[in-house]
């Protein structure tokens, strides 16, 4: 979390990968305005795709219940929900750990046994509270 208070811009370092292009994976940097102090990473990515770079691929679904797992990606190295991770001055965003990457931040969740790992983590979130 940011200790230095309000900031107006955020620099996102985002993983890019297009299997059609021989280049291989690389990082792209986006500078976005921070609309409110409660801006989430998902909202930031949505800003990128609607104002800066429409080619960035990520599962832009906001289920509003914190439970669907579609927005799970590696944020600063940790698998987190982009919809409830607060924006910081600088962030590194990569596709969810341990899943094959289809494109950019979109991964293949695969069959039940792999996907249920995410869901077990999600169910445990509200079972413990």
């Amino acid at each position: 979390m940011s200790e230095c208070g309000r900031f107006n811009n955020s620099k996102l370092k985002v993983f890019r990968f297009d299997p059609e292009v021989k280049k291989g994976p690389y990082f792209e940097y986006y500078n976005i305005p921070v609309i409110s102090e409660n801006m989430s990473v998902l909202e930031a990515l949505r800003y990128v795709v609607s104002h800066i770079d429409p080619t960035l691929a990520f599962r832009d679904y906001f289920c509003k219940t914190n439970q669907c797992g579609m927005c799970i990606m590696q944020i600063n190295g940790v698998n987190s929900f982009a919809c409830h991770t607060k924006i910081e001055k600088e962030m590194e965003i990569k596709p969810a750990k341990n899943y094959p990457v289809i494109k950019d931040l979109v991964v293949d969740f695969g069959k039940a046994d792999k996907y249920s790992c995410i869901f077990d983590g999600v169910l445990r979130v509200y079972r413990d509270c």
């Binding site: 297009d18 299997p19 059609e20 609309i35 409110s36 102090e37 409660n38 801006m39 989430s40 998902l42 909202e43 795709v49 609607s50 429409p54 080619t55 691929a57 599962r59 832009d60 679904y61 906001f62 289920c63 509003k64 219940t65 914190n66 439970q67 669907c68 797992g69 579609m70 929900f81 919809c83 409830h84 991770t85 607060k86 289809i102 494109k103 950019d104 979109v106 969740f109 069959k111 039940a112 996907y115 249920s116 869901f119 999600v122 169910l123 509200y126 079972r127 509270c129």
Partner: protein, 570 residues
Amino acid sequence: MLNIKTDVLVIGGGIAGSFCALEAVKQGQKVILTSKTPICTVGSSISAAPGIQVPLGNDEVYQFIADAVVAGRWLSNQKLIKRVGKIAEEGIDFLYKIGVPFNKKTDGKYERILSPRLSEKPRNLNMSIPLAGPPIMHALRRFILEDHRISIFEDVFLYDLLKIDEQIQGAFFYDIRRGNIFFIESKAVILATGTASEIYPNNMAPPTTTGDGHAIAYNNGCEIIDMEFVHFWSTVKRPTSISGINHHIESLYEKGVEPARDINGKEVNLFPSYPTSSRGSLKPILSTINKENASLNNQGGIFVNLANLKPENYWDKGIFELGAYVEKLGIKEIELGIGPLLCCGGIKIDNNCESDINGLYAIGDVAGGFLGANYYGATGLIFAMTTGIIAGREASLKRKNFSSKQLNSIVANKIDTTRENIKTITGIRSPYQAINNLKTIMYEYAGPIRSETGLRKGLVKLKQLKKEGVSIISKTKIFNLELVKAFEFANMINVAEMVINSALERKESRGRHIRIDYPMEIDDVYNIIIVKKIEGNMSVKKRKVDFFIIQPGEENVCSRIKEAYKTGNY
């Protein structure tokens, strides 16, 4: 080019589609289940509340029909409601069997609780966890993926249907993962594509609800009904990171949160007493917003300060949806707004869930006729479940009777023209901007309170927006979500026109359709409004409602329904 053939094709991977696929497979059919996202993850089904309304036993079914029809302001399809009520228990038993933790009492019966806005007797199920949607979706996903009889196609977008001589032949899809168009041949196609509320801002349903099924069925000549009824509710407008979330303000007040206030700090009463509780907190928000034109200029609006909400309450039932985000995003204050929960209308179906096209079925939120003029709370889930089961059975029975046709050249032709159309998409703005413009137009001219002049202005602006079109920058084949957004925009603008045309035709206020120039509900005139594509144009007409079981103004409806069941007079 892939030519896939199957017995039953289910389009849409929420609760409705899942139940349909499972039922059809139980009837021995080959089933394909498609979804534009991973199945059982992010449709409207995920926000189902734990207090699901389920009638158990004949007495409760009679009362359920009466309540549902009254809540729908007498416009609902009574035969459909009756069929839904009768098999609701079957769906719940199946969910319990696959691990969804409904509470049961020591005698093995389901625990029942009251829902404050609905019937007098407890008729809702209960769970000890804050939300019902996620465990249901997770359990269904696991069950379906482990049932290898169902072929799953994820990340495929329904592009069009194929209909020959009023008989369905199959559907065309855009494969999001590969960027190509393919065709699935089937004589029984079931649309389970969800509602269309994304045409408005502050959508309380997920952004997948773009009305794809509505638009594509309409384009193929189906009747679409009740589109003027959009169930608006009180939701969060700002911070924009959580706009559209269900704030359950009553639960917040219970935990000690200060009352809502307007921009001048004056307290706002969100619960004036109204004859119909379904209009609860809508009017004061509307009047404040209309008065002050709330905007980024901070000129109006209603605010709720969350300082008194304690961290130990964040994950309580009723607070959970908002509380989780309050904790993680550090939210201290929310601004309330109006957003759609769902559209009550959809594809017209009979009580076998079949549309006007032979072999084309519609289930769940995309089907019209169950809700009528109002969303009867906590019933979305059983409607999705039961219509899924009904369509799964009916489609399996019917498809055996149709002969095959030679489709190869028609299919190849259509795929080639589609590829050309996609390459030549031209317009002046990006699909994201076009969708934002659409939402602004719909809220301003076809929002919760409507008028003739407003609706006509909105229609003109919509037509202009449609003419201006969209342009795609992204040339990639794999996961080109900009192109998918363009397809969704095309569907959404058609749905928006249906909403406005239907709203213009209904010259009264009924349920969730409020017209300032016709503020009263007109008695003795019970019509549904239908839109249909005739010779390329959107035609609008009325049809009188058939009161199969109960009539408006009847006393003692329950015994009347019991009589009808006994004598078979319905």
